[in-house]
Symmetry: C2
Subunit: 226 residues, 2 copies
């Protein structure tokens, strides 16, 4: 039986949020080689004495950088190869995650090495490894899911208005959607309850909706935005 070199295995996170109608991704500045000084995704090695699965590794790393657990976390894809890390063959399991901007804002603002980057301004940024490609894959997945589910609610606090959700979805998919369609979906999904309070917004007060704690993400049978 052959003995194989076990490739280096890491976990990386594409943490998204939406702020001012712009999709943002969390990046951290590398302090050590390779790619020292470039921006990279928050991630690292599995600690088998602490993590009971790679999901926990992902959550642990996100908690470290943001101070909170994300509202949503899901495996994205494995990226592997000989050339993505100059040290040799490597494998990274990429996750993507969603969080409300308000939940992490204070923590990120005080951190030197962590920043929200507008995904539309990534071109100009010096990025480490193949992390631009990983972010692009995360974007595609998020965009797809936004068409047939209400996944984007996880970019908002537990309570939110229809207009807020509409703007978040539009930031993610890049095209306007019908407010009416969104209301029909909120209703049909069974994932939310109407809060007692309403909130003012310049005109008529808006109904607050609130995520039901253990509701599964509902999948619609059609896409929005045809």
């Amino acid at each position: 039986m052959t003995i194989y070199d076990n490739p280096q295995f890491t976990v990386d996170n594409v943490l998204f949020t939406v702020e001012q109608n712009q999709l943002m991704v969390l990046m951290v500045k590398r302090t050590i080689p390779p790619f020292q000084g470039r921006w990279s995704l928050p991630g690292g090695f599995v600690d088998i004495h602490q993590d009971d699965s790679t999901d926990m590794t992902a959550r642990r790393k996100l908690k470290q950088k943001t101070g909170v657990l994300p509202n949503y976390l899901e495996q994205l894809q494995v990226f592997s190869g000989l050339t993505r890390d100059p040290r040799g063959f490597s494998v990274t399991l990429a996750y993507y995650a969603l969080v409300a901007y308000q939940h992490v804002q204070s923590h990120i603002a005080t951190a030197e090495d962590a920043r929200w980057i507008n995904v539309n301004q990534l071109d100009e940024l010096p990025v480490a490894f193949d992390h631009k490609e990983i972010i692009a894959a995360g974007r595609r997945r998020l965009e797809q899911k936004a068409l047939y589910s209400l996944l984007p609610v996880y970019c908002l606090p537990e309570q939110f208005t229809i207009t807020q959700l509409k703007e978040v979805i539009e930031a993610i998919i890049g095209t306007p959607i019908q407010r009416k369609s969104l209301m029909r979906r909120l209703d049909a999904s069974g994932m939310f309850s109407e809060a007692d309070q309403k909130v003012d917004s310049g005109g008529r007060k808006a109904q607050l909706y609130q995520r039901l704690p253990n509701a599964d993400l509902y999948h619609f049978e059609r896409n929005l935005g045809g």
Copy 2:
């Protein structure tokens, strides 16, 4: 800086096909511990001197067991944990793949240790590791994709009739579909051309359709089977 134990990393394949209207999965009998004598998914270690990515590992292992490359291959999910392998923390990247039964039949038939297992008869089989769970995840993914794409064509040879495709889809999703809807989709997808020949089937001869070589998998905006 802490030194981490690098967990054991493997690649496993859930290779599906459909034969006699039954969804089948390829399994191999383990010849060494742990789980010696039990059935498991075809997979193994990355060989960094031979594989330029984990995709190639998956393809190489499938070629070894079946003699051919699958018609379709896609990452499924990573499974990890302390308890899935008695030797300690392990990580496996599961792929799922599709192949035409005819393409591999002869090769499998002569192999001692490889067999097609009807996915509906897995309960009775002694299966190694968490491979039942991995197969279940593969099934769910295949089923979902069968609702909004024509992925099941990859369980058929390059040329096929509508009736064959209909039966394959029904085996995968477990409910009957409208022949008419399928024809509309074949047409709309742009993935196929009509072959010159027709083929007999007991009554009127059936049109053969054929996969266009470089067509991408088309995603419809609605699900079948509502």
